[in-house]
């Protein structure tokens, strides 16, 4: 019957409508669809996932919503919204309250692991992701990648239909071919069948892969992750004779010594580590001893910026340092090379602190250092009794079957002609494979090339079949968080484009026809849960993760390692280090505009990657920022814009991965250079190379041009001998009588001691407040729109500066200069002390911005809204107006959240409770650096911070009486270094 319908119903037409993508036009087209006969039948056929969703109570509305409520949902203010139309449900589920957001727990993957999230759904469309407050890893905090996932969901550049030889095809067509292929594989036991995938933690995928490999014994699985866990597995093998994950417990750590281990830097573990570190650092203020951090690194990292002592040494020298430290602590032989004077001083003080804080100290060695060196860390920590306290070891979270082999093996086999079918699972080797392997050259030699991915990327272009992968937010699936706990990924809406999930795809490989998305996952957990499946399944869906599924520590004793001598290095050569990009990671997020426009923490660069060189190097080569230079590693070379990085080791050059994409999408193509091209297979993290100046300059877009703050007191510090700042005892005199704030007086206090500059706040603000992306040229002109900026300053010697981060939102001054300047009452004060910006009253005189001493206001110079038909409008928060051309905007303290709490409180006739209003930046911050609340409530966290001795006001002398204030940073550098 349904099939019949789908006969009468032109599926191709439907797919075209769907694939056409684009804002209202898109939704409208879905509407048209709903009216068409046989849509549901066709839907069953083409979108079992959606159909499954439809039948599942609680999500029934999703598709209808997609058709209908997007119009209702008021893509607030984005162009000529069809506010004249109203489309009710046909059948409204009970729990739906139109206009009220709902929340679902799910997870988004990063590097194979997943980040547990809580998604905000407005009228059936996810608009915001935040860390899952229930989950031990995130506890509600998040990072930029998590925040931006929701924009990627609506990316119109995502591939929208299967392609065969680059021509539109259908899933059915693929499945037809698959039948033949399977017959072929079966005949040859899977000989010549290869599957290439990134790191996998999904129990379902693992189950399915195992099944596949057992069905076709001779088939092979190759794992390739450009970043992943770097060289940790080898290190673990050296130390323990088996693969293990290292887990830090920074919340227990009084003395942390890091050798190039950027524990607080971007990555799957950032939130976990940042929370632990800040918890310890926060506690320590009352006086449970300071956290001392000794960091040795070649390139400034977020961890380095908050260190007590920071030793700058070339990347290759770190190994020697580690060896010396291990020797000092008596777990290894002294290195052949001797240390420099400062290196030795640092090493001894580090060793002392490690010893003094036995059981509460931690030696962390970067996962990209040579495995034998890394293997020293477990020895030291074991010796100091830190194992189990500040670090523990567990089963690898990532799938690492004995049979699995590497990308290099694959390339070798292909060249040997041993591969005739290659299936690429959501991986992009054609772009990200080490240049040395020249993967894209050999790939075409494979007869049958099948690619499953979100985008039609570099690899997809080289494959016969490209199959669109459903976005995690529209998928059924599962995966493990970094702590090993299993998270269930559930769809928040039916696939926008013709995508299928990875488990669905594998099910097809296993012979299923049009497998429903949910089945594979259900099956996995049905096995796991056994009897009380329904209860535990529903609970897991609700919580977003499977209760007590986290991995348990395993008691292991590290074995001593012998360290091979370091290969000699020519004096004219430099250390070339590779690092993931803080905005686009390994390149998978390259087409997400929010991330491209996110100023990178330490350079404040947007839309580009650069070749970071030390000031000395720049001096020697007479380089200025933006000059084109070329890095040569062996016979491979890559050219990029030079960037002078203060505090970088003299002979170290830093390349960041993730740029130089050629088929990422309209946003990312052609930005920056690809560091992969000079990456070697043996060691992808440190190479010996040379530097050469090539002609020309490249314009770079930074959001902050000046970083030296010497002579100004924007950021203040306290230290052991001056533990508190001079506090203002009586308010400054003012010509005018003060305004009363009888009810709430909202205020924010930002602890500079806890800020690690991770940008979570900025990206959360972008997502929450519909902040426009303006593009590289506009950013270069100084027209970026982020309401919240994280200023980065440095003081002292440019070769060894001290770094500071200072988040600067609107100060919400009680005596606001901006308000007094506005001729039309477009920015005025509210009774709870918020500096209101009324877009619809603004005529754009920009006086407010001229008068603002903090320059926190942003102006819509052009119409920065996405084109009316862009699907990205669906990511908009309907509770926040999308600003049109010619109006000023700025941080509102997330007033929509305050109003929501206000209404909730008023409906029950009570006051707003402490913690009831949480701003987006505060919610995302993994270190609780940002605190928001009611200043009139002496018990509120913000009021408490205001009473702290470290409290200070930015530009206090201007008498603007800001509501946003700061806590000074604690300078715990030892006397001799501190200036």
């Amino acid at each position: 019957m349904k099939r019949q319908n789908s006969q009468t119903f032109d599926a191709a037409e439907a797919r075209r409508l769907l694939a056409r993508g684009g804002g209202r036009r898109f939704w409208a087209s879905l509407e048209e669809l709903i009216d068409q006969d046989g849509f549901r039948g066709w839907l069953e056929a083409e979108f079992p996932s959606a159909a499954a969703v439809l039948t599942e109570p609680g999500r029934r509305e999703i598709l209808k919503l997609m058709g209908a409520s997007f119009l209702l949902a008021g893509l607030g203010g984005c162009g000529e919204t069809r506010s004249d139309l109203a489309l009710p449900y046909v059948d409204q589920p009970e729990e739906i309250v139109p206009g009220m957001p709902r929340f679902y727990a799910t997870a988004v993957p990063l590097d194979g692991c997943v980040q547990p999230v809580l998604a905000t759904i407005h009228a059936g469309r996810p608009t915001k992701l935040d860390g899952n407050p229930e989950h031990p890893v995130t506890r509600g905090a998040s990072d930029p990648f998590t925040q931006a996932a929701v924009l990627q969901l609506y990316d119109p550049d995502r591939s929208q239909a299967p392609l065969r030889d680059g021509l539109p095809a259908t899933w059915s067509a693929f499945q037809d071919e698959l039948i033949a292929m399977r017959r072929d594989w079966a005949a040859r036991q899977g000989e010549g069948l290869r599957i290439l995938s990134g790191d996998i933690t999904s129990p379902t995928l693992i189950r399915q892969l195992r099944q596949l490999l057992s069905e076709f014994p001779s088939a092979k699985l190759h794992l390739f992750e450009p970043i992943g866990s770097a060289l940790r597995p080898e290190a673990a093998r050296l130390a323990f004779g088996r693969e293990m994950d290292f887990h830090y417990r920074l919340e227990n750590c009084d003395a942390l010594v890091s050798l190039g281990d950027d524990a607080l830097g971007p990555g799957p573990r950032q939130v976990l580590h940042a929370r632990g570190w800040s918890q310890r650092r926060g506690e320590s203020t009352p006086g449970q001893g300071r956290v001392t951090m000794h960091v040795a690194e070649s390139v400034p990292s977020l961890t380095g910026t908050v260190a007590s002592t920071r030793l700058i040494c070339d990347a290759s020298q770190l190994a020697v340092l580690a060896q010396a430290l291990a020797a000092e602590l008596g777990v290894a032989a002294a290195p052949a090379e001797s240390l420099g004077e400062s290196e030795h001083r640092w090493m001894t003080s580090a060793a002392t602190d490690l010893r003094e804080h036995r059981g509460r100290s931690l030696l962390a060695i970067g996962a990209h250092l040579p495995p034998p060196i890394q293997a020293l860390a477990p020895l030291v920590n074991d010796r100091l009794g830190n194992s189990g306290a500040t670090v523990w070891y567990g089963e690898p979270v990532r799938f690492s079957p004995s049979g699995a082999s590497s990308l290099a093996d694959l390339v070798r086999d292909i060249s040997a002609g041993a591969v005739d079918t290659l299936i690429v699972l959501d991986s992009n080797p054609a772009y990200a494979a080490p240049g040395e392997l020249a993967f894209s050259d050999v790939l075409p030699r494979v007869r049958e090339r099948i690619h499953l991915g979100l985008y039609r990327d570099e690899t997809a272009h080289l494959c016969r079949w490209h199959l669109p992968l459903a976005h995690p937010l529209e998928s059924w699936g599962d995966g493990r968080a970094v702590d090993g706990s299993a998270c269930i990924i559930q769809p928040l809406l039916a696939p926008l484009y013709g995508g299928r999930t990875a488990p669905q795809f594998l099910a097809m490989l296993l012979g299923a026809v049009d497998p429903p998305a949910e089945d594979a996952v259900r099956e996995t957990w049905a096995n796991a849960f056994g009897g009380d499946f329904d209860v535990r399944w529903r609970r897991s869906l609700h919580d977003g993760f499977v209760a007590d599924s986290a991995l348990q520590p395993i008691a292991v004793t590290p074995r001593p390692v012998d360290i091979p001598p370091r290969p000699p290095r020519g004096s004219d050569h430099v250390d070339v280090v590779f690092a993931p990009d803080p905005s686009v990671w390994d390149g998978r997020f390259a087409n997400v505009a929010w991330l491209q426009e996110l100023p990178k923490p330490l350079t404040k660069l947007t839309w580009d990657n650069v070749i970071a060189v030390s000031a000395k190097m720049a001096e020697q080569m007479q380089l200025a920022n933006g000059d084109m230079i070329e890095v040569a590693v062996g016979d491979r070379r890559v050219a990029g814009a030079a960037w002078i990085m203060p505090g970088q080791a003299r002979n170290t050059v830093a390349l960041s991965l993730g740029y130089g994409r050629s088929a990422a999408g309209k946003i990312a193509d052609g930005l920056g250079y690809s560091a992969y091209s000079v990456r070697s297979n043996s060691d992808g993290w440190l190479a010996v190379g040379s530097l050469r100046r090539v002609g020309g300059r490249q314009p770079l877009a930074t959001t902050q041009m000046h970083h030296r703050t010497d002579g100004f007191d924007f950021v203040r510090e306290v230290s052991a001998d001056h533990p508190s700042l001079p506090q203002e005892t009586h308010p400054q005199p003012n010509l005018y009588p003060p305004w009363p704030y009888p009810r709430e007086a909202w205020g924010m206090a930002i602890d500079l001691d806890l800020c690690i500059g991770c940008n979570a706040c900025i990206s959360a603000c972008t997502a929450e407040n519909n902040i426009a992306v303006v593009g590289k040229e506009q950013v270069a002109m100084g027209r970026e729109m982020q309401w919240l900026r994280v200023d980065r300053y440095h003081t002292g010697d440019i070769d060894d500066p001290r770094f500071y981060f200072q988040p600067v939102p609107c100060m919400h001054c009680e005596k606001a200069p901006c308000e007094m300047g506005c001729p039309v009452h477009a920015t005025v004060h509210s009774p709870d002390g918020i500096n209101q910006m009324v877009y619809n009253r603004c005529i754009g005189t920009r006086t407010c911005s001229s008068y603002c001493p903090y320059k926190v206001r942003r102006f819509n110079w052009f119409d920065y809204r996405a084109p009316a038909d862009s699907p990205t409008h669906a990511a908009h928060n309907p509770d926040v107006t999308v600003r049109s051309r010619g109006v000023m905007e700025k941080c509102t303290y997330c007033t929509q959240r305050i109003q929501a709490a206000r209404v909730a409180a008023d409906k029950d006739g009570r006051d707003i409770r402490e913690g009831e209003v949480v701003t987006a930046c505060q919610q995302a911050c993994p270190t609780t650096a940002i605190v928001f609340g009611n200043l009139n409530d002496p018990e509120s966290a913000v009021a408490k911070r205001r009473r702290s001795g470290r409290h200070f006001v930015l530009l206090e002398e201007l008498g603007t009486r800001p509501r946003t204030t700061y806590l000074a940073r604690w300078n715990d550098a030892p006397k001799k270094d501190s200036s």
Partner: protein, 177 residues
Amino acid sequence: MPESTHYGILAEFKSPETLVEAAKRARARGYRELDAFTPFPVHELDDVLRLRDRRVLWFGLIGGAVGFAIALAMQMFTNFDYPINVGGRPLYPFSAFAVVAFELTVLFGALFPAVGMLAINGLPRLNYPVFAASRFHLASKDRFFLCIKAHDPRFDPSQTRRFMQTLGAESVELVPA
């Protein structure tokens, strides 16, 4: 003959001095309804012809007062009607209101006398008897005219005309009403 048929008699002089002299003698003769037409203001005439009118200045004063009042009322009312906390400033900051108050004082202080002056002078008045006088166009060039209006009790076309000639006028002309 009825006076209504005449506007008056116009006598033309070469210089302000001669005009003033003539005006004096005319008044001495007892003529009261005198007027003069000159290419530029001749101050002596004001006394001779006993011209006295301070109304224009009063207009200025009133205008200024009105403007000031309007400005102050407007600014205070707007803040009274929708009281908003603007930058923590008071609702009625007179220091800030002073500016617009001053402006409007000047604006109305200038508008009133300007309009008033034209009004009292009965301008615009495009059609006026004297324009009919054959040599009157010289009044805006380099000639100075004395006029004895017809409704002067002592006005008598022939006599007055004769008298005028005795004043050393360049020309004397009877202007029809």
